[in-house]
């Protein structure tokens, strides 16, 4: 019997390791970010650290400040939520989930006025950045990251 388990255990382990991982609840971070060039930039928020290089390279700003944010844990993939600042609102409506991504409908409001709407498949490994309107000398960015 010991001999049988000696080779059955590695085989079962191999099968389990080859099976795709079971999905658990995941959290989506949504942020309204003002990007600016300032003399003494503040440290980048922790949520953006992962994409700091890309943000600086493609938008050309040295400071990124979060003016509104929301963290939503998705359980069914059908939830919706709102990230707001004083004047802007980002409404996120999750419309389904696959193994690798969530299907989202995004609406950017300025007060009650719809500025931009987009549908996207947000990958669990790939953040989404949306360039919004110019605000003063800076730029409004919308960022969504699956944490």
């Amino acid at each position: 019997m010991g001999g049988v388990s000696a080779y059955l255990i590695p085989v079962v382990a191999l099968i389990l390791s080859a099976t795709p991982g079971l999905k658990g609840a995941e959290t989506v971070w949504s942020g309204l970010v003002i990007a600016e060039n300032v003399a003494e930039p503040q440290p980048i928020p922790a949520e953006l650290t992962r994409i700091e290089g890309s943000l600086k390279k493609f938008f050309g700003y040295n400071q990124f400040q979060v003016i509104g944010q929301s963290q939503k844990t998705l359980k069914t993939g059908q939830e919706d939520w709102l990230a707001t600042s004083k004047f802007f609102g980002l409404h996120v409506d999750a419309r389904g989930e696959s193994e690798a991504n969530y299907v989202l409908n995004l609406k950017l409001y300025k007060e009650k006025e719809l500025l931009l709407e987009t549908d996207a498949k947000l990958s669990k490994r790939s953040p989404l950045v949306i360039k919004g309107p110019q605000v003063g000398s800076g730029q409004l960015l919308l960022v969504l990251v699956v944490q």
């Binding site: 080779y7 059955l8 085989v11 004083k86």
Partner: protein, 173 residues
Amino acid sequence: MKTFEEKWTTWVDGQLSGRELAEFEASLPDKAAAEAEKAEARKLGKLLKNELGVRALTNEEFFSHQLREKIAQEQASRRFRGRRTETSTWWTIPRLLWTGTVSIAVFVICTVLVMHEKNPSEESQYLTQILNARVDPVVSPNATVSMFEVKQDRVTVLWTEGLQSLPADYAAK
């Protein structure tokens, strides 16, 4: 009453005696020729006995003969048992388990290889994709949208141009 041939055989074997011997030898027409024939017959008998007789085995030979027979029997029975073992062991439970295990292992390896080969082509599924984007044409009539991916950080960017600019007050938290 013995015939002449019977008496002759008995005489050649040297088993006649007494009166019977005297009477038989007296009845021989040529005793010298008969004696010569008797001597030849005895000589031939002795030769045949030496050449055709069963040779008795010595103790040593008998013992080694017995040993050889026993060894031959054992080898034959071992060969028979070996054949039985060869044919019966293949479908024993351990063999079946091994066969099953090897089959599962081959299946898992093939599955992993197929999944591994599929991954590069499915890489795009791990990047965020923008399906469509719309800008209110009344609020921003000249706005355009484009999209691109930054492979380095796996970031997908929706790039808008021509959206209505807003005063700095709108940056308030």
